[in-house]
């Protein structure tokens, strides 16, 4: 079954939000499942508060980059980035967007919004919005088999990563779980 998996996911945000961190978690999850994985990242000048985007490709690919209108999924940590990266999504793809506002998405995509910044404040971990968005996506896309990995897979990666730092592990798991729970609570996925 794994042999046929081919997924391209774009993760977009700004410097300091932890785009590379959640990209790494997804990539590690792919490795644990024995899937080939390729990611492409932004470093250097652009990391200083500028737009940061990473491309995650799971399955057999030679190129590290996703072409416009080819992404299966989109994780957007800053809603303003939709203008820049929204059109990477293919028709029928899914998007999870960190936003306090209602969504204005032009194309027909399965898009869900979550106010991860507010939830992050609520759990007293203001920098954990990235994990909340990921948890939310795992609930929305993961449980519908639109994502190659599940909540359990990511938890496993976090446990391995922070095994010795109990405090960090607990905080990360809580953020992930908070996002996941939110995906259960919210009304059915809206199609814009």
């Amino acid at each position: 079954m794994h042999k046929t998996i081919k997924q391209q996911i774009l993760i977009s945000g700004v410097g300091g939000q932890g785009v590379l961190f959640i990209t790494g978690l997804l990539a590690e999850a792919a490795i644990n499942k024995g899937l080939p994985v390729f990611t492409s990242e932004t470093h250097g000048m652009a990391q200083r508060g500028g737009t940061v985007v990473s491309h995650l490709k799971v399955g057999n690919f030679s190129s590290p980059l996703i072409r416009p209108f080819k992404a299966d999924g989109l994780l957007v940590l800053k809603d303003e980035n939709m203008a820049q990266h929204g059109s990477f999504l293919k028709t029928g793809g899914w998007a999870v967007i960190n936003s306090e506002n209602d969504l204005k998405v032009e194309k027909k995509i399965a898009a869900s919004a979550i106010d991860a910044d507010q939830l992050a404040q609520k759990i007293s971990n203001p920098k954990s919005a990235n994990l909340i968005v990921l948890g939310f996506a795992l609930g929305r896309a993961g449980d519908r088999r639109n994502l190659f990995c599940s909540l359990t897979d990511i938890k496993k990666v976090l446990r391995k990563k922070f095994g010795r730092h109990k405090k960090m592990l607990d905080a990360s798991l809580l953020a992930l779980q908070t996002g996941y729970k939110a995906s259960r609570k919210k009304a059915a996925q809206m199609v814009v």
Partner: protein
Amino acid sequence: MSKSKRRLLLGNEAIARGLIESGCSIATSYPGTPASEILAAVAYFQKEASLSMHTQWAVNEKVAFEIAYAGCQTGLRAAVSMKQVGLNVASDPLMSAAYMGVKGGFVLISADDPGPHSSQTEQDSRLMAMFAKIPVLDPDSPRQAKDLIAVAYKISESFKTPVMVRPTTRVCHSRQDITLGSIPKNKREVKFEKNPARWAATPKFRLQLHKELEEKLSAIADYRPTAPKKLNPKAKSTKAIIASGVAAAHTKDILKELKIRSKMPFYQVIQPFPLHRKFIAHIIDTYEEVLVIEETMGVIEMQLADRYRVKGKLSNTVPKVGELSPEKIEEIVSNFAGLKSEALSIKSAPGRRPTLCPGCPHRASFFAIKKAAPRAIYTSDIGCYTLGLNLGAVDTVLCMGAAISQASGFYHAYKNEEKRPDIVATIGDSTFFHAGVPALIDAVVQKVGFVLVILDNRTTAMTGNQPTPATGHGACGEPTDTVDIESLVQGCGVKFIREGNPYELEKFIPLVKEAVKYSRKRGPAVIISRYPCVIHRARQGGSGETIPVDINEKCDGCGYCIKHFECPALIYHDDKEAKHVSIDPILCTSCGVCLNVCPKGAIVAKE
């Protein structure tokens, strides 16, 4: 951890792993995006496997090159890594080393940045290899980059020549699952054999060495392991596509998707220079039309000597400027294959511009400089502080160290004018060590009236907080001796040297004013603006005294703080009834510097 396990490695980590698995015993570098992580990863693998090797950050790329090169002269395997513009700095030893050749294997890694994402130029290091007359390998992925390091050492030792490996940003900063190999256990003998005719050759012998070099290149052009590969041996057509590097990786996927992989002959070039002799003959003999896709210049293309049949950058079939994105390649390949191009490009929306971090001491320095010398010419340099552009406190950025020499140039240009502008140069601590010192000596000798503010944040911040000569530890975290910036400036002959804390604006602004006044009559004045980088401090788990701030009712939304201080933690609200500024509690580091910024006194310490 079992060694056969797959690990997710960054391209630069894969390169480092390749060096370690090839038994490299001397690795040097100067940080620069996209090459910075290579040496840090060498240090990581070195510690992980408890290897006794020498791994160091050097003061600049030229010094890094020369240290590693001497290592190979003793018979050890050595490597130096840098970004493409760093190679400009190291070009002097490169040209000469190509003539002298090597004893132990010597690999030069020069990382290019098509785009450019984080560089001054889109120059092609492969052309530098051609210029220096050394072979160059062009990997398409982290995995291939690791494999090619081993090949590079083999070529280097078989033909006694330095070998360049040229990754691009998309190789350096991609991550891929990679199977680790083993690390050789046997140690090499360190033995420098004196041979002045070769290692200290005079021009007469250089002519002989040049002849030998041409013979080496000619033999390498027949070296089979690096010959171009036809990736679809059965495909037949009057047309063919040749690609190298990441462009080859994109093309592989695109040919598959366009369903022409079985029809369109496709060759991947691993060694763009010297291009294999038999390959050139085969291509010219076999095909009527050939498309060459490569970054960033037409290095392969120019060696295929048939202007009528070869399409590429020289024929304007492939853009000469910018990164070759997969969508661009899809369009080029479709057109070449006579297919209707379905490649869709997206209009580029402006992203967020990079900015100095909240709490960055550079912001405070720039604010003070603008207050103290509002009409000055501001020369600056390469580093995070280039972002002083956003505050209007940076007028020029040329290359490493040029802040100081350009300040001299502006001074001399205006020397005979009645009205002479003040000149304030800014340079980071690491950049000052790298290339600023000779320029400062020159400014002292010429009595250049300017202020130099050395932004000493105790680290090489932009590239990921590598140590500087003042830091006191090396690449592996080992303690090192230090060079004190103040003594160095004094040693250059500067008479006015002051140190200040930019966080204390009320003292720092008068200090800059004093320096400006001094510089008008008496020559160079240097201020060392000393405060540690916020990111570096956070990573080390430390934080200084914090002063939480708030905005009171005096804020009338004039926007002064947004324009002149530009801290990401200051948020402007363009509400129709009440324009105002607020503090973002997530971003604010409570540095307290903005307390001195608002002209209305609306930014206050939290009760």
